[in-house]
Amino acid sequence: MTDETGSRLAPALEMRGITKRYPGVVANDGINLQVRPGEIHALLGENGAGKTTLMNVLYGLATPDEGEILLDGVPVTISGPADAIARGINMVHQHFMLVPVLTVAENILLGDETMANRIFLDRREAHRRIVELGRRFGFEIDPEVKVGSLSVGWQQRVEILKALYRNARILVLDEPTAVLTPQETEEIFGVLRRLAKEGHSIVFISHKLYEVLEIADRITVIRRGRVVGERLPNATDEDDLAALMVGRAVQLTVDRGESHPAGPILQLAGLEARDDRGQPAVRGVDLEVRAGEIFGIAGVAGNGQDELVEAIVGLRKPTGGAVSLGGQDVTGHSPRQLNEAGVAYVPADRHRFGLILSFPLADNLVLTSYYRKPYARGIVRDPAAIQRDAVTAIERYDIRTPSATVNASTLSGGNQQKAVVAREFDRDLKLLVLDQPTRGLDVGSIEFIHRQVIAKRNAGTAVLLVSAELDEVLEMSDRIGVMFAGKIVAVLDGRTADKNEVGLLMATGGAERAAPAGPAAPAIPT
C-alpha cells in the first residue's frame, strides 16, 4: 500500500474521456481515470454525481457515447459483465448481488462454475477452492451456509471471495461500508490492503470523506458527471474534499443546537415483535422518547430495527409489551389510529411505502388524509381541495415539479422525499418516526430534510430516527440507543457518544458475543 505516485508503470486501468448521456442528462462528461497496479484508488462524489454510471460503463452495463477504456495500456471494448469478468474486472455492488436462498458456494460458483462433467457441478472441488481462498485472506468460511443467514459483514466477504474466485485483477467496490460498523469497516479495509499488496488494483467508490482519506492511495473527485479534482490523501483534508465534491463550502456537521426535552411522548415497555418468518426480532425493548428531542437508533441492519419501527407505527402487531403515546396506551393500534393521534412516519423505502409512483403528486400528498375533510365529504372526494393544497405544499417545501398532476414517478429522488416530508410534517405532531430519511439523496436535499427535522424537534415533537448509517445517527441525535439482536443494549448522550464505542456496541451488543446469525466470527483485529 505504498504511495507510488511517481511510478512510470502503465496504469492497470485507464478510462479516457468517458461521456455518457441519458435523455435529459449528461451522466458522465469527459471523465478521465487512471488506476495503477496495486493501488487503492478512491472515486469520491455525492449521490447522483455519476460514479455508478462510470462503473457501469467499465463493467459493460452501459455503452459510453464517447471515450475509451484501456487495460494495461491496450484499448478494449467491454461488451457486458461476462466480458468484464473475463478481463479480470469485478465489482462489489452497493446492494449485494447475492442470492439469499443459495449457499455461499453456489453464489460464488454462479456464472463461473467448476464442473465435474459437461452437465453437473463439481461441488467438492469448488468447496476446497473456496475454503482455501478464504484462508489466504484471513477468514474461515463454511461454503454450505445459506447466504441469507449471514450477517452483512460476512456477505461483504462473500462478495469479495466471488471476485477473487474469478481471479479479479481490478476490483471495484461501490459504497462498500454503507451498512458496516466501524469495526467491520476496519476488517474489510484490512482485506483490501492485503489484496492491493498482492498486486490487485482497487477502485473504492464512496462519499465518506474520512474513509477515503484513510484507505486510498489516490483520490479522484467527480461532481455532476465531471472530474473536478485529483488529490493525494496526505495533501488534502476533509474540508477541501467536501468543497470539491459539493461545489461550495459546506458545513460538514449539522448545527442542531440545544435540545430542550420535556415530558415523555413515546414509551415502550418490554416491546416484542416477530419478523415475517415468525422469528422473534424485537425482544423486549424499553425506550422513552421525550417531546423536543431526537432519539437516534443505531444498529447493524437486520437487528430488529425494521420490526421495531413497524410495531411502533402500527404496521406490525406486537407480540408482547406495550406502546404508549403521551401516556395513553396505543399498543396494537392501526396506522390510521396512530396517524390521527399525531404520529407521522417517513418510511425507509419511499418507492414501496411512502409513495404510489403511478399516482399523481396531488394524490400522493393526501395519501394519509384522503378520507378527511376537506379532501372528502362522506365518501365523495373533492378534487379541487386536493389540488389547491397540493399547490401550496409544492411551494412551501420547494418540490420541483411541472405541476401537481404529474405522476410521482417523474420526480427526482430528492423531490420525492420532499413530497413525503411535506405530507408527513405539515401538521401538529406528537411523534415523528424517521427510517433512513436521507438514503440516496444529494447533499442539498439532505440538508433541507435535516433542517426540517430539527425545526420539528424545536417545535416540541418527539423524533425517533432510525438509520443504518451511523454517521447520520451521530450527527442528528440528542440521545442514541444502540440496537443489537432485538434489544436496546445501551443509551448514550448524543453530544459525547464516541463513534468507535457505538460501533463496538453495534457489533457485539456490549458483551463478548458473536454477531447474530453469522458463522463463528473471527477475532476482531486491533
Binding site: 441519458y22 435523455p23 435529459g24 442528462v25 451522466a27 449521490n47 447522483g48 455519476g50 460514479k51 455508478t52 454510471t53 452497493q94 461501490d174 459504497e175 458527471g225 404496521l315 392501526s334 396506522p335 390510521r336 396517524n339 412516519y345 418510511p347 414501496r352 411505502f353 411512502g354 409513495l355 404510489i356 409512483l357 403511478s358 399516482f359 394524490d363 395519501l367 394519509t368 384522503y370 378520507y371 372528502a376 365518501i379 365523495v380 372526494r381 409544492i394 420541483r400 415539479t401 411541472p402 405541476s403 417523474t410 420526480l411 427526482s412 429522488g413 423531490n415 440516496g440
Partner: protein, 389 residues
C-alpha cells in the same frame, strides 16, 4: 446511488393541450388498428381452413361472404341491432367486473362462475316469485342474482386475504365447481318434474321488462348506467381511491392506513356481483329458464372486453359493443358461409394478442404519441410473488 434523474421541467411550463382529434387518435389508434389486423388474420384463417378441410370447393371470396354475413347478422335490420345490444349488455357487466378487479390488482378470471351462480340465484328466486307482482319479483330475483355472483366472488377474495391463495387459480377452479353445482341443481331440485330434459320452470313475472323492439330488455339501459357508476366509484370516491391504491401498491396502501385485506375481499365481492349481474341479465332478460347446459361465452369474453378497454369503465362499453356485435353476427355467418361460430373466439384471441404486442406494432407502424395497448391496467406488480404471493 442511482443514475441521475432527468432534470424536471421548470415549474409553470405547461404543454399545450392537443386538439380533440389528436387525443382521440391517441386513445383509439391501437384498438382500431388491432381490430382491423385481427379481421385480416381471421380472413387468412378462413382461407387456410378451406384448404385443410377436404370436400369443399376453394372459394377465394369466402372471407368476404363470411364477414358480410357477420355484419348483416349484427346490424342488418332493426331486430339485428337490438340483438347486438342484447348481446352487449352482459358483456358490459362482465367487462366491468374484470376491469374493477384489475384496478385493485386482482385478476378475476372467475366471471364465468359468477355468471353461472348469479343466474342460478336469479332463477331460484325468479321461479319462486313467478306469480308475485312484477316489480317485487324483478327486484328480488335481480338482487338474488347479484348476491349469487357476489358470493362466488367473495370466496376467492376471502381465501386470498386470509391465506394468500392466488385468485387466478381459485377463481378458475370455482368456474368448474359452478358448472357442476348448476348441473346438480337443474337436474335435481330445480328440475320440472316429468320433463324429458333437465330444465327449470319459467321465471314468469320476474322477467326483465322489454324496452326496445321485441327482445331489447332493460339491461341495455342498465349496462351504460352501471359503467358510469363504476367510473364514479373508482375515480370520485374515497373507496375507489383505496381500491386503486391497493392495486397500485399494497404496501403503500397499508402504510397509508388502508386495509388491503378487507379491500381485496370487498373488491372481489363487488366484482363478483357485477359478474352475477351479467348472468342475471341473460337469465331474466333472455332465456327466462335454465337448462343444465346453461352458459354462454360471456365469462371469458369479459376478460377480453376489460383488456381491450384498458380497464377503463367507459371503454368497457365500446369494447363490449365490439364483441357483442361479433357474437350477434356469428350465427348468420355460420348459416350463410358455413364458418363455425368459434371463429369469433379466434378473432378475440388475435385481438388480444395484437394488443399485448402493440409496442411492436407501434414501432412497425411508426405511431408516435399513441397509448400502448395494455399498460396501466396490468396487475403484474400485484402478482409479484408468482401465483402464491
Amino acid at each position: 446511488m442511482t443514475t441521475p434523474a432527468p432534470a424536471p421541467a421548470p415549474a409553470g411550463a405547461v404543454r399545450p393541450r392537443p386538439s380533440l382529434a389528436v387525443r382521440a387518435w391517441a386513445i383509439l389508434a391501437v384498438p382500431v388498428v388491432v381490430t382491423v389486423l385481427s379481421l385480416l388474420v381471421g380472413a387468412l384463417i378462413i382461407l387456410a381452413s378451406e384448404l385443410i378441410v377436404t370436400g369443399r370447393k376453394f372459394d377465394p371470396f369466402l372471407p368476404f361472404t363470411a364477414y358480410a354475413a357477420l355484419l348483416q347478422g349484427a346490424f342488418g335490420s332493426p331486430e339485428a341491432i337490438v340483438s347486438t345490444l342484447v348481446y352487449t349488455a352482459p358483456l358490459v357487466f362482465g367487462g366491468l367486473a374484470v376491469a374493477f378487479g384489475f384496478k385493485a390488482g386482482l385478476f378475476n378470471i372467475g366471471v364465468q362462475g359468477q355468471f353461472l351462480v348469479g343466474a342460478l340465484g336469479a332463477v331460484i328466486v325468479g321461479v319462486a316469485l313467478a306469480d308475485a307482482p312484477a316489480p317485487v319479483a324483478i327486484v328480488a330475483a335481480t338482487a338474488a342474482g347479484i348476491l349469487g355472483g357476489a358470493l362466488w366472488g367473495f370466496i376467492p377474495g376471502f381465501l386470498k386475504a386470509v391465506s394468500g391463495a392466488h385468485e387466478v387459480v381459485s377463481t378458475i377452479m370455482l368456474n368448474y365447481v359452478a358448472v357442476q353445482l348448476l348441473a346438480a341443481l337443474v337436474s335435481g331440485p330445480l328440475k320440472v318434474p316429468k320433463s324429458p330434459s333437465p330444465v327449470t320452470y319459467d321465471v314468469g313475472n320476474a322477467a326483465w321488462p322489454i324496452v326496445l323492439g321485441d327482445t331489447g330488455h332493460i339491461g341495455i339501459i342498465l349496462a351504460p348506467i352501471a359503467a358510469v357508476f363504476v367510473w364514479w366509484l373508482l375515480f370520485r370516491t374515497t373507496w375507489g381511491f383505496e381500491v386503486r391504491s391497493v392495486g397500485a401498491s399494497p404496501d403503500a396502501a397499508r402504510y397509508a392506513g388502508m386495509r388491503p385485506k378487507a379491500l381485496i375481499i370487498a373488491t372481489m365481492t363487488f366484482s363478483g356481483a357485477l359478474g352475477g349481474l351479467a348472468g342475471t341479465a341473460v337469465l331474466l332478460g333472455v332465456t327466462h329458464t335454465m337448462t343444465s347446459s346453461f352458459g354462454t361465452t360471456v365469462g371469458f369474453d369479459s376478460i377480453a372486453v376489460a383488456l381491450l378497454a384498458r380497464s377503463s369503465p367507459l371503454g368497457v362499453i365500446a369494447a363490449a359493443f365490439l364483441f357483442g356485435s361479433l357474437r350477434a353476427g356469428a350465427g348468420l355467418m355460420q348459416i350463410n358461409a358455413g364458418i363455425p361460430v368459434e371463429l369469433v373466439d379466434v378473432l378475440q384471441a388475435t385481438i388480444l394478442l395484437f394488443l399485448v404486442a402493440s409496442p411492436v406494432l407501434r414501432r412497425l407502424l411508426r405511431m408516435r404519441g399513441v397509448q400502448a395497448g395494455i399498460t396501466e391496467s396490468s396487475p403484474s406488480h400485484a402478482l409479484g410473488g408468482g401465483l402464491a404471493d
